[in-house]
Amino acid sequence: MTDLALGRPAADRDHVLRLLQTYGVYLGVAVLLLVNILFTPHFLSGENFRTQAVQVAPVLIVALGMALAIGSEGVDLSVGSVMALSTSLISLYLGYGVWVALVVAVLGGMAVGAANGSLVAFIGVQPIVATLALMVAGRGLALVLLPQLKDVRDPNMASLGSGALLGIPYPVLIAAALALLVAFVVRRTTFGRQLLAIGDSRPAAQLAGLPVRRVLVLVYVASGALAAIAGLLATARLSASDPTSLGNLMELSAITAVVVGGTPLSGGRVRIGGTVAGAVLIQLLTATLIKHDLPPSWTQIAQAVVIVLAVYAARERSKR
């Protein structure tokens, strides 16, 4: 009898924690929306939502690649530098036409990803070290290619940055499409399934004959490509290439979005819906605090609290 009486609340608590871990990020977004609707003037306007969405798009796109890397039990610190490299390449190749510039920028990101992936898969360098090397090298290369800020004056780029379809800005549409694509890849393709197996148990995946190296290289190539796309969208929106500051600390924002979204750092799971919500949560949090005239340091503290909460929930889960 006592066992039963003691057992019940504990099980309930576990259950609640598990639900919180899975759906906490959505709850967070809902709460923030509610708070803003009630207390923030002019929050419920199309213009405001557009602004928020446009701001979150690059972070979200980078976070999608980061989710793949983290799902494979790795991490990609080079994403911010890839954005910088992408913006430099656009400025350099814009003369050949806007499409050439965009393609070259994405190829550049994929090349960095291939270097990351090769270091990880073939040489066995730890992901955090390999991508740290490319983070430094990538930013350096971006600055060599384009030493200082340069305006990007191109009508196509301008429309990519500020145009809209049915009232939805292009960057937001692109981010949404990429999120759907990555979710589809994770759920439905052999690559996605193999990626999860490798992230969960590398020795088992190897003994099951999975192409471990190929999958790992592809993961980082995908992450590089996505970061490059984020870079070119940011360039289009700013109408300028700024390789010194574009993408600074982006890797940390992306990791935050992924972790807050409930993807465990230990690999083996990728939650795309959660990652999207995680990026939105951080964006809303920042916006809320700014709109209420709180200093930027408050934003950082609030972010830190959210991260700690997310990690706490994840810890409870892994202990079971």
Binding site: R188, T190, A197, S201, A204, L207, A208, G209, L210, G268
Partner: protein
Amino acid sequence: MLSVTGLTKSFPGVRALDAVDFTARAGEVHALIGENGAGKSTLIKVLTGVYRPDAGEVAYAERPARFATPLEAQDAGISTIYQEVNLVPLMSVARNLLLGREPRNRLGLIDFRRMHREADEALRDLGVRVDVRRPLRELGVGAQQMVALARAVSVNARVVIMDEPTSSLEPREVRTLFGVIRMLRERGIAVIYVSHRLDELYAVCDAVTVLRDGKVVHTGPLADLDRLRLVALMLGREIGEVADEGVTKFTGEHHAESEPVLRAERLSVRHRLSGVSLDIRPGEVVGLGGLLGSGRSETAKAIAGALPPDSGRVTVAGTSVRTGSTPAAIRAGISLLPEDRKAEGVVPGLSVRENIALAALPRLSRLGLVDDSRVDAIVDTFMRRLRIKASGPHQKVGELSGGNQQKVLLARWLAMNPKVLLLDEPTRGIDVGAKAEVQKLIDELAQDGLGVLLISSDMEELVEGSDRVVVLKDGAVVEELTGSAVTPDALLSAIATTGGPAGAEAGAAGGPAAPQHLRETS
């Protein structure tokens, strides 16, 4: 010198040590042996202060002792040399030797000249000559082992514990090591020696303690014990006492065809395998016998491409298979059920469905897109055929019982339509009911024409399940038992054989396998 009485240590679900009495005397080399899970490591960890005993006394130099940490034990004079050398690879040999007690000059800085001289002397004492200023990692594994040993001895050790010290040594280095051990014995140091190599035990040890299932089954002078008896004690099987039939679910007889489906020729892996050859015919279960560390798992892994061999060939149905590549082996039809099911077999976080489909995914996909209906069909078929008990195909494999995890792994491989199944301890750690089911399944698979390689520490399982048994010792084939010669007694005596392999042709039917020379270890 160091003794324990009534030592008991339990972990959740297991009693690792059960009222163990053990005494290591000064000037004696004491062998500590036992199969996997017998309690050797636990005993060593209690002696060195890593674990605290639940009950029982530890006495050191005639006085009760209780070491709270490994450091305390070390300071008291108990040194341990582990299988894997635990030194700092980038530091110089001398710094490693004197780490934490470097000689200092008047300014309190390290006196390098004195340090190098002292280190050199310590190594010379052991008959090792190396430049002590060079980083440790430039030395061979054997020399590194010697540095570890010199370090252990130079801290004024009175008890030295060696955990499989020879597993990565060359024969010459083993001889040096034995010289050092004898020297330690002369100095009145108590040596506790853990090894599975019988030749080594008889070459260097005075006394022996055999552990089995956490209990001491024998202790006494080694000279009084012949090899056969020692092996019987370790495995817990008395000669002539083994139940003959009906303990397992095996029927025993299969109709094997004449042409082998798998042929492994002279597989060699440095320090692990020397020239192992074997072949498996369709519909045949070939057992792989031998003690722990004899190279059974390594043989299976080398065949399955998970352990790249230095030399040797693997052919499946006459076609050569690229060695050292798991995907190549799997394409050729070789499937391995690894020994460590949890770490190397199942992917615990994924569902039953994903685990079953894992290896076959490329076959169940079109243009990289997984065909879910085909996956469902296969998963459904195998879950029913193997009677996998799960709440559904979407339950996580990590939540299943050991037996069901094993069935999931079997299903993963059967979905690939393999020609050869390599089963490494397929029934270890699973409950009795599931064990019988898995055994019956192995039987059925062989009857369906699969070639099966069965590795098992369970003697009844091996004898009753196999049509033939290839016996390994120190990484080489020593004997092959066929047909009616497959009996527990024959297996025991084969395992206990002295010296090198009798005839290493090992069933390479008519193959030109030259006899391989076993490394001399004494």
